[in-house]
């Protein structure tokens, strides 16, 4: 059984490594992610949001919904942890 699991892991890893060949190079200026929206963020975010750190501007302003969803996920995790684990002493 362990041998079959090892073979499955090897095949999955080989497929994933084969899939990374198609990805653009690290820091490639001509990749799709670096030609569509990134230049606009880099050029305009300082004068539009007055925030020097572009990552913070993108996270909290341009992609505000995303961070709201992230906060909601964390809040739900905390509430579920309280509901499942907490035992009230009667």
């Amino acid at each position: 059984m362990k041998f079959i699991a090892f073979v499955v892991v090897l095949i999955t890893g080989a497929l994933l490594i084969y899939a990374t060949v198609d990805m653009p190079d690290w820091g490639d200026p001509n990749s799709p992610a670096n030609t569509h929206v990134s230049p606009r963020y880099l050029e305009e975010s300082l004068e539009k949001t007055a925030t020097p750190n572009v990552v913070t501007a993108v996270l909290a302003d341009y992609r505000g919904y995303d961070t709201l969803g992230e906060t909601t996920v964390i809040f739900t995790a905390g509430v579920v942890c309280i509901l499942l684990l907490r035992r009230s002493r009667k």
Partner: protein
């Protein structure tokens, strides 16, 4: 990006991950996972993604190791297999 340093850190990352799943003691397994997170943090820093590295250091190496310790406190320290 220095590729020699990259290869070295990647090698230790794989070593830490393999050690974390083979070791019998769950406490040392949690500490090895913390070391794995910290080395991943070094890797992100070296690639220039400083915000991701900071998140990895705060969440992966700090808080989740404390959560694992809390879970080991109330359960057992030895694995079955």
């Amino acid at each position: 990006m220095i590729w020699q340093l990259d290869i070295l850190i990647l090698f230790i990352v794989v070593l830490c991950a393999l050690a974390a799943i083979t070791v019998k003691d769950l406490l040392s397994s949690a500490i090895l996972l913390g070391a794995y997170s910290f080395l991943m943090c070094l890797l992100w820093t070296e690639m220039g993604a400083v915000d991701v590295a900071f998140t990895e250091a705060a969440v992966g190496a700090g808080i989740s190791t404390a959560f694992f310790f809390g879970a080991i406190f109330v359960t057992t320290r030895r694995t079955k297999d």
